[in-house]
Symmetry: C2
């Protein structure tokens, strides 16, 4: 019986996991280097340590019934040792190992017939039909666009210099019409559910806005769901997965897969019967998956980023709270430019209405 | 600007206040005698002290921007001193003083023309038309039926012996058709909102089930709302109030008023746009009140009480979580017979459906 959940990472994702876990009767412990991290502020106990601290991860495994994570950039060797010692690690650590290396991930997807953007391990334009621009990506450790390098031409020396000889690979930049994502979850006996596909809007590679449901034709939705199902078949373990996709010329390509709760699912707290955070708890603890049905015709989530002045307006918050079905979430993080410090979810009758309100709401917060 | 909220009491109500406060950017501190009380488990800092510890209350006032409570049985003298020292105490402490003494409360309601059950300060049957049964109530400190004594005849000596000479008063027991309640909230500038009236079902004087909306004729709803408005006019201060009422011969009588978030409003977490807990935070911190609209045609909340075996069934919880739109909440309290250790909220198309599911869900939990 699972009562104690250990989570590697105690940022906003770990915080929202904690908030979902407590009412179901679980205790949560997190590893995080930041003193009194967001998850601890919501009642998790905290091992204050770096996320790559193997000893801390061993301790986490010893004192909890299941170990999970809020971020994929964590050491896998020690996770393998936990598994070898009979500790439940969810989702599967070999899946994590594959996903961590974006090139290995891409190869697996391609070998299974999942459509992906053209990519090459070899730093040579001959590997591609058509021309640039290209995006060079670090194989490991990148997120929110960090670790990505846009180039018009592939110049191996320039790339080596830029990345200090880290392992990289190249993707052809695709001119997508939209970015969409499907959040899916698998329970311990293999059942899979998914949330309605969402549209994600990025600014400077950082998720800015999520629109649920995605405003794309029905056949694109069907294709996205089929692809999401195929992808879930390639990866193992219980928990929530986010499958990020591009819509290119009316076709769906997979961009990347995250084996964890995800920014593109925050709206589910208010907008769906079961939030992605409760879903993850259900999945990793052997409970049945929850209904993913939406509670409103449309929902929009917009991220609040730290701003230069580092000041949010309290009067602005008052105006936000006067807006119908508008739900600000602050994570208790100090403000830094481009840092995600909160989000706002708006539920409305139409996506256009929700988008307008979300943009207005966020604007109110900045002085 | 209010950033830190002090709450006297850190049980389940304080816990749910804390859970609602954190995403809005507030810090919560509670006073509670229980080590690692429910509110602390959800991230509140805790002053471990009895609720009547004046020094602890002074400390709470010094370190927070506003002081509120989850229970009305707390010392008022020290609250008056806080107010005299310019500390924001919400709702009004004189209102608390009046409500704490059930006889004073009843007299105020009666003097304002609010219909109440016949009552008397004098322990004499001549004070009543018709006969018993009567319920003798302690003027102060009773809750969940504790402090109530049912008698067929008023025998002053028997009453004095039963209550060890505590101050009491007598109410004629009314044969009500239903019990209903209205949760209302007032902000700092005097705006008032209320939630749709609910039906409350008590077993052994402990709230067992709440049905939203109340299944009573429209004119009863109107009367209940009018009475709730009148009652809100009699009491002062910002925050959530619960007005408990009887429906007797098609008329509405006020039973009692609680100047705090209340068991009859727990369903609002899932069932309404703004939960009573967030509403209380908004009210006491000078933010605008939130929309109280329901998210589903019907909702039912059922309390989970500690049972004799002190064991809840994990397999049962799994079956509960497989039910549609069914939301268990455990408070992290140790189990004791008749102690509220959690609740389940069910949202459904009809109240009958929700009731059946809620009863079934609770049954699943007990081994």
């Amino acid at each position: 019986m699972i009562e104690r959940i250990g989570c590697i990472g105690g940022g906003q994702l770990g915080q929202m996991i904690t908030q979902a876990a407590l009412p179901l009767g679980f205790k949560v412990e997190v590893i995080d280097p930041v003193e009194f991290c967001p998850a601890a502020q919501a009642g998790a106990s905290q091992i204050q340590a770096e996320l790559n601290d193997s000893q801390a991860i061993v301790r986490l495994g010893e004192s909890n019934d299941v170990v999970t994570w809020e971020i994929e950039h964590i050491p896998t060797t020690v996770l393998g040792e936990l598994v070898a010692n009979g500790i439940d690690v969810e989702p599967n650590f070999e899946t994590l190992l594959c996903i961590q290396d974006k090139l290995t991930q891409k190869k697996l997807l391609q070998s299974a017939g999942v459509p992906v953007a053209p990519f090459s391990e070899v730093l040579n334009e001959d590997a591609f039909l058509g021309g640039g621009p290209y995006v060079v990506k670090t194989r490991k450790g990148g997120f929110d666009g960090r670790g990505n390098f846009m180039v018009d031409h592939i110049n191996p020396q320039l790339i080596a210099d830029h990345f200090f000889d880290q392992p990289v690979y190249v993707e052809q930049v695709v001119a997508f019409e939209k970015e969409i994502a499907v959040i899916a979850a698998r329970d311990k006996v293999g059942n899979i559910v998914s949330y309605p596909a969402v549209e994600t809007v990025h600014n400077n590679s950082i998720c800015n806005m999520v629109i649920s449901p995605a405003e794309v034709p029905e056949d694109i939705i069907d294709e996205a769901n089929q692809i999401a199902n195929t992808v879930m078949g390639l990866f193992h373990g219980a928990g929530v997965f986010a499958i990020e996709m591009f819509v290119v010329n009316g076709k769906v390509l997979v961009n990347e897969v995250a084996p964890r709760v995800h920014n593109s699912g925050h709206h589910t707290i208010e907008a769906n019967q079961t939030s992605q955070f409760e879903q993850h708890i259900r999945a990793i603890s052997g409970m049945p998956l929850g209904d993913t049905s939406p509670r409103s015709p449309a929902a929009v989530m917009i991220n609040i980023l730290g701003n230069r002045s580092e000041v949010l307006s309290r009067e602005g918050l008052n105006r936000v709270l006067a807006m119908p079905d508008t739900h600000p979430h602050f994570y208790g993080k100090s403000s830094r430019p481009a840092r995600k410090i909160g989000h706002i979810t708006v539920l409305a009758e139409t996506a256009d209405q929700a988008k307008l309100m979300a943009v207005q709401a966020r604007q109110e917060l900045y002085i």
